[in-house]
Each structure stands twice: as C-alpha cells, then as structure tokens.
C-alpha cells in the first residue's frame, strides 16, 4: 500500500513539474526583452501565408488577445502535438525536426549513462574496499576529470583519437552517403561515429558515481553487520558485494535524479562538438539561427524526457528498497 502512495506522490510531483516547465516555456518568449517574433517573421518574409504569420505571432506572444486565452491556445496546440513551424528548417514543423534528432540523443545518452553508472559504481566499491592501495590514485584523477568541462574532453578526444590517431570518425552520426535504416553497414557506421561522443560522456560523468559510491561504502563498511560477516569468515568478495555494496547502492541510485540533468547538459555540448545529429546539436543550431520555435520545442522535449527518466528511476527505487514497501 505504502509503495503505491509513494509512487502516487512522485507521479503527482512530476506532473506539477511538467506543468511548470510547460508554463515556463510559454512565458519565456513573452517576458524576455526584444521581439523574437519580428526576427522570425523577417526571415519568413515573402514565403508564408497570412495564417502562418498569425500562427508565429501567437506562438511567440505577439497577440492582441489576453494572456489567458493565449495560454489556452498554447495548451490546445501542445496537446495536438503542434509545436509550431521551424525557422531554420522551414517549412518543416518543429515536432518533425525534433522527431528526427531525438532518437540519436536517447540512444547515445542512455547507453553512455548506463555504462558510466555501472563502471563508476563498481570502481567506487573497489576504491572503498581496497582503500590505501594504488586504487586511491583514481580519486584525484577522476576529480580532475569531473571538473573539466565536457566539451573540452570532447575536443581533446576528437583531436587525439579522431585526428592524430585516426581511429574514429570525428563528425556526424553516420557516413553521409548511407541511407538511414537497419542495414548492417549503416549500423556499424553509426556505432563507430558514436564512440567518441559516448566516451566523452562516460569519462566526464563517471567520477560522480565513483565518489558517491566510495563515500557511502565507507559508511557501510564500518557497520556491525559487515564486521559480523567478516567474522563469520565469509569470502571477502561476498562481504564486499553482498553486504557492504548492496546497502550503499541506494543513495547512489537516488543521486541519479540530480545528476541526469547535468549529464544531459553536458551531452548537448558534446553533440555540438561532434556535430552529432541529436537534439543537442539541433538546439545549438536553433539558437544560432534565432529559431525560437525550435529552441522552445527542444527545451520542452528535453525536460519532459528527463522527468520521464526520473520517474523510471523512482520505479526502480521502489523495487529495490524494501523499506518503502513496508513502512513509508
């Protein structure tokens, strides 16, 4: 019963957050100085019908109608999946443009984050268990890497592995002459293009998991049940993984929510460095081209996806932590 209540509370929270993000998305172009609609319309000049001009104006807040009725129209459009027309990909619709980029990002960030989480957590367990050994050297190294901006790691790995050594392609998501599809050639091309961006995300984000897990492990290692397990003569590996690490894992998972936004932010810049065809690169181009409708649409999609990922993490948390199920 209690876990249902926990889940209900979380879902309610994410619903409110989604509403807040959507409303912010509505308000930002209306509150900011300058007139984005004029910029957009000057680029449309001569290409669009009066109806489309009105649509752009309504979207960016140039309207004689009251704010409340604009807000209604905004929601109405949103619920129909209509995010407006892109300026830089005219006459493409924002939802179509985002739809083309979003899967590249989801796969790239998803896989890289998973690898980084698993590897970082395991290394953290080892670093705590064998503290005082050579593994302690990991700490300053990872601290340094976590303080380096993502894009700098991206640039350095691009220049070392891409240019100097020539191991991996340095730009794009696949060889441009290939057709997007499920052919073996395309998939292997996409894989080799994703190595450097993924490596960047892993190297930059692994330190957080490592340090968090190590510090939690140090707390659980000094608990009595670990002492008892050792005294019973259980194998060191089993005490480490089954007793100490198992109990240290939960806070690391709940830390996921906080770091996901950070990883997504870093990935946007990483995609830009590699001209990777995901939505981070699209966002960058949208800002450069003053493509306000696309910019807003991408912000909305990124936020909603982060919320969804958080909800999934919360579901895992319920499955993993018996205390939520029993007490509350």
């Amino acid at each position: 019963m209690t876990q249902v209540r926990f889940l209900f509370r979380r879902i309610a929270f994410y619903a409110v957050t989604a509403w807040a993000a959507i409303t912010m998305n509505f308000l930002i172009p209306r509150l900011m100085p300058g007139s984005p609609a004029d910029t957009v319309l000057s680029r449309f000049k001569g290409q669009v019908s009066q109806a489309q001009v009105d649509a752009v104006k309504a979207q960016l807040g140039v309207s004689d109608k009251s704010l409340m009725s604009q807000y209604w129209t905004y929601w109405d459009n949103l619920l129909h999946g209509d995010l407006g027309v892109s300026v830089s990909y005219f006459p493409g619709r924002v939802s179509e443009v985002i739809g083309q980029g979003v899967w590249w990002t989801v796969v790239l960030i998803g896989v890289a984050t998973l690898v980084s989480f698993v590897a970082g957590t395991l290394l953290g367990v080892l670093a705590a268990w064998k503290r005082g050994s050579r593994l302690d050297a990991l700490l300053p190294v990872t601290t340094f890497f976590s303080a380096v901006p993502y894009f700098w790691i991206a640039l350095v790995s691009l220049s070392v592995f891409g240019v100097e050594l020539g191991w991996f392609p340095i730009t794009g998501g696949y060889r441009p002459e290939l057709q997007v599809g499920w052919s073996g050639e395309f998939i292997s091309s996409a894989l080799s293009h994703s190595v450097l961006p993924a490596l960047t995300i892993i190297v930059s984000s692994i330190a957080g998991w490592l340090l968090g897990m190590r510090n939690m492990m140090l707390t659980t290692i000094s608990e009595d049940y670990v002492l008892v397990a050792e005294a019973k003569g259980l194998r060191s590996r089993r005490v480490m993984l089954g007793y100490a690490a198992r109990n240290a894992l939960l806070p690391n998972i709940s830390g996921f929510a906080l770091s996901l936004g950070f990883i997504v932010s870093g990935s946007i810049v990483t995609e830009t460095v590699f001209s990777y065809p995901g939505i981070g690169f699209l966002l960058f181009n949208a800002v450069l081209n003053n493509d306000y409708p696309l910019m807003q649409g991408i912000f909305l999609i990124i936020t909603l996806m982060v919320l969804l990922a958080n909800l999934i993490v919360d579901l895992c948390y319920v499955l993993l932590d018996p205390r939520i199920r029993q007490e509350g």
Binding site: I268, V269, V287, N310
Partner: protein
C-alpha cells in the same frame, strides 16, 4: 535510512571546537591546502591578469599560429593574437561570472532553503516544490534558451541567468539542515523570549549554517564557470569580452583541434579544470573535517580496530560487541 542518519549527525556543524581552530584544521588537510593555494592563485590572476597581460588580447597582425616561444609564451592564434594575453584577460571574466553567479545563487538558496526549513507547513511545501522543480529541470538547456533571448548583453546577464538556474541544490541542503536545527534548545529559547522569525533566521540560524553555505557557494562557483565556458564555447556568450570559453570558441572555429595547435586550446581548458578541481579539493577537505569517517587517519584507525575485532572473533573469543 540508518546510514544517512548517521552521516547527517556526523556532518552537523558546530562541535566543541571554536570556529577559528576549525578553520586552521581545514588548512592542515593536504587536499584543502592544495585547493586553497590553487584557487588563491587564480583569484590573484583574475585581479592582476589584465594589467600584466603582455599584449592586447584582440590585437591581430602578429605571427600566425606560432607554437610557444620567448616572444609569445603560449603561442599565437590563427589571426596572430597572443594566447597568454587572452588567458590572463579572460581569467577576470570567467572568475567574475563564477563569483557573481555563485553569490546571487547562494543568496537565493539561503533565502528559500532556510525560510522553507524554518517556517514549515504550507510555506515549506510550496518552497520545497519550487526547489525540486528547479533541481529536476536540466539547467543548461534552460540557460541556453534564456541567453538565446539575451544575446549581446555582456557577461552580467549570463551570470544572472546562471544563478537563476543554479540555486536549487544549495537550497535543498540548507532546508534539510535548518529542519534539524530549528528544534534545538537555543532556537526554542529564542522563540520563547519572543524574537521575531526574521531575526531568528538571520542571527541564530544562518551563522550556524556557515559550513553548508560556503560549500554550496563553492559548488555553484564551479557550476557557473563551467556553464559560462560552455555558453561562450558554443558562441552563445558575449563574444566582445574575453573569457576562457571565448578563446576555446575561436580555437574551435578555426579548427585548432584538427590542425594540432594545442597551445591554443589546452591552456584555457586546463585553467577551467584547475579552478574546478581546486574547489572540489577544498570541499573534500571540509567534508573530511566534518565527517570523521572520511578522514584518512580515522579510516586507518578504524580499520586496525576492525581487523583486531575480526581476528578476535575468528579465534572464537567474544570479539563482537
């Protein structure tokens, strides 16, 4: 959550030691001392950098794409600008954005976090909700969208936008700590003698939250420097003022990375990384001080004691408490 509870009691500030002694103890930790030294030298650089720069960072016309030499200690860019001068002048902008953004964000965090924790009830619910919303919404996309509307405004609007997107983490920590302080005897006493809430918050609570406020400030400082560098690198910052991110932007734009002009892009990235790492080191040092379990000396002692206990238990004696 037994583990977190012990951690929380261990990190509570204000032990028996007077503050001055604790401050000295922080410097006795090797990590913190290294951090303070590195960070201090960058603060110095931010102050004097523009005065000691050998050249105008924007001045073109020197030798093009020179590797480091006696004339140009860090080489030159594709248009013959002196890289060292760009780094020195850029230090001020980057550090200033970090400082201003961290100051604003910390002020917001204290205002919202402490108020929420102290008042409780509906005010707490509403403010916590606001904090959590800002925690979950990814910061950089929001910052990019906001600065997208504020192009060509210089560094100050960027610092303000960064503080708006970066205050929530500190506010959450401060709220939790305020919750644990508000029922202490001295706060109850202050309430009993009729002190107003505002005075209790500013005079009784905030000084005792010092350690957390400072650590939050340092985290936001890193966050702000990284964000400013990302924005400038993407060409979304102010391209008229020099910062480390701006230098990287031009390096990327002139394909310094594919032509191997390392002297152009390694120094600014290294500066950002060193500032970030130094602040992390200070935070680690402070953590170890406040949480004895993490300090190396305490760990060694604990391990020895545990080994002895385990050995005794294994030998069949009553070693387990």
């Amino acid at each position: 959550m037994a583990a977190t509870a012990t951690l929380a009691t261990a990190t509570e500030p204000g032990g028996a030691e007077p503050p001055a002694k604790r401050r000295l103890a922080l410097l006795r930790s090797g990590k913190a001392l290294t951090g303070v030294l590195i960070f201090g030298s960058f603060v110095l650089l931010a102050v004097i950098g523009p005065y000691i720069a050998p050249d105008d960072p924007s001045k073109t016309g020197g030798p093009v794409l020179q590797s480091p030499s006696a004339d140009h200690l860090l080489g030159t860019t594709q248009s013959g600008q002196d890289v060292l001068s760009q780094i020195l002048v850029g230090a001020r902008t980057s550090m200033l954005v970090g400082f201003v953004a961290a100051t604003f964000a910390t002020a917001l965090a204290v205002l919202i976090g402490v108020t929420a924790g102290y008042l409780g009830g509906w005010a707490d619910e509403a403010l916590s909700m606001l904090t959590n919303i800002f925690l979950v919404i990814p910061a950089l996309p929001l910052t990019i969208v906001l600065t997208g509307y504020l192009k060509d405004g210089g560094w100050f609007p960027i610092a303000v936008v960064i503080s708006v997107t970066g205050w929530a983490f500190g506010a959450r920590l401060l709220r939790a700590q305020t919750l644990s302080l508000r029922n202490r005897d001295y706060i109850k006493a202050a309430r009993a003698v009729g002190e107003r809430p505002w005075r209790i918050i500013t005079v009784e609570l905030v000084p005792n939250l010092g350690a957390i406020i400072i650590s939050g400030f340092l985290f936001t400082f890193i966050f702000a420097i990284l964000t400013e560098a990302s924005l400038s690198f993407l060409g979304l910052g102010s391209l008229t003022t020099w910062s480390w991110g701006t230098t990287l932007y031009w390096a990327q734009n002139s394909s310094a990375f594919t032509t191997g002009s390392w002297w152009w892009y390694v120094p600014p990235g290294l500066c950002i990384a060193l500032v970030g790492a130094s602040l992390s080191l200070i935070n680690f040092g402070a953590d170890e001080l406040l949480n004895p379990r993490l300090s190396p000396a305490a760990r060694r002692a604990k391990r020895k004691e545990r080994r002895a206990a385990a050995a005794a238990a294994a030998a069949g004696k009553d070693g387990v408490r």
